[in-house]
């Protein structure tokens, strides 16, 4: 399974755009890049997934360059309620075995 590296923590202010970058240098051809969000005392929640280029949904955007060795989760105009831990997973294959890293703790300040 490809190993991911992401910052341990980030701070931001309400209304700003937040970009969290994840590096995955040994990503395999069939790997997908997936991001989860976890609020305190809750289980993680799937937010977005992509294979290449750009993916956007109602929560976030995911930017993946052509070499796929990194990806960036973009949260537009964050609010206090976006304070959470964000996990980047690189996953492929048919086993379904999801391995989480330590994640990035995002603190949004007023």
């Amino acid at each position: 399974l490809a190993k991911t590296t992401q910052p341990i923590s980030m701070d931001s202010y309400e209304g700003q755009e937040v970009n969290i970058t994840c590096s995955h240098n040994n990503i395999a051809t069939n790997d997908y890049i997936t991001w989860y969000q976890q609020f305190p005392s809750q289980g993680p929640r799937f937010i977005i997934q992509g294979y290449k280029t750009k993916v956007t949904n109602e929560v976030a955007s995911l930017f993946i360059p052509a070499d796929r060795k990194s990806s960036t989760l973009s949260l537009p105009r964050v609010s206090l309620s976006d304070t959470a831990v964000y996990y980047c997973l690189v996953f492929g294959g048919n086993t379904g075995k999801l391995i989480f890293g330590q994640g990035t703790t995002l603190q949004v300040k007023p």
Binding site: Y32, G93, T95, G96, L98
Partner: protein
């Protein structure tokens, strides 16, 4: 909506007890997982099951076993609870097949305290 239900939100057990944590999902998912989460250590996979009666060890299986007799139910068993197993335990499920299997649904968690 997918629902993953864990049998207890909070649990207190004594050292040496045999402990069962139950998880049920209602979306006919093939894959089920048990994780534990500790401050500063993130989510660590204990066991994974991809079908009834099938299981794979995760990163930290020592001291745990699992049972999956029915597709919707995945049990985590602590054979002899120890204080270092005090933790938040999270169950999850997902469909099989890429890329559907990258989207897991989590239960609310069981906070287990072993005294």
């Amino acid at each position: 909506d997918v629902k993953v239900t864990q049998s207890s939100r909070y649990l207190v057990k004594r050292t040496g007890e045999k402990v069962f944590l139950e998880c049920v999902q209602d979306m006919d998912h093939e894959n089920m997982f048990w994780y534990r989460q500790d401050p500063g250590l993130g989510l660590r996979l204990i066991y994974f099951s991809y079908d009834v009666k099938m299981k794979e060890k995760g990163d930290i299986p020592e001291g745990y076993s699992v049972s999956r007799e029915k597709k919707e139910r995945f049990s985590l068993i602590l054979e002899s609870a120890s204080t270092n197993q005090t933790s938040m335990y999270l169950c999850a499920s997902s469909r099989s097949g890429v890329p559907l299997n990258t989207e897991a649904f989590f239960g609310q968690g069981t906070r287990l305290t072993v005294v």
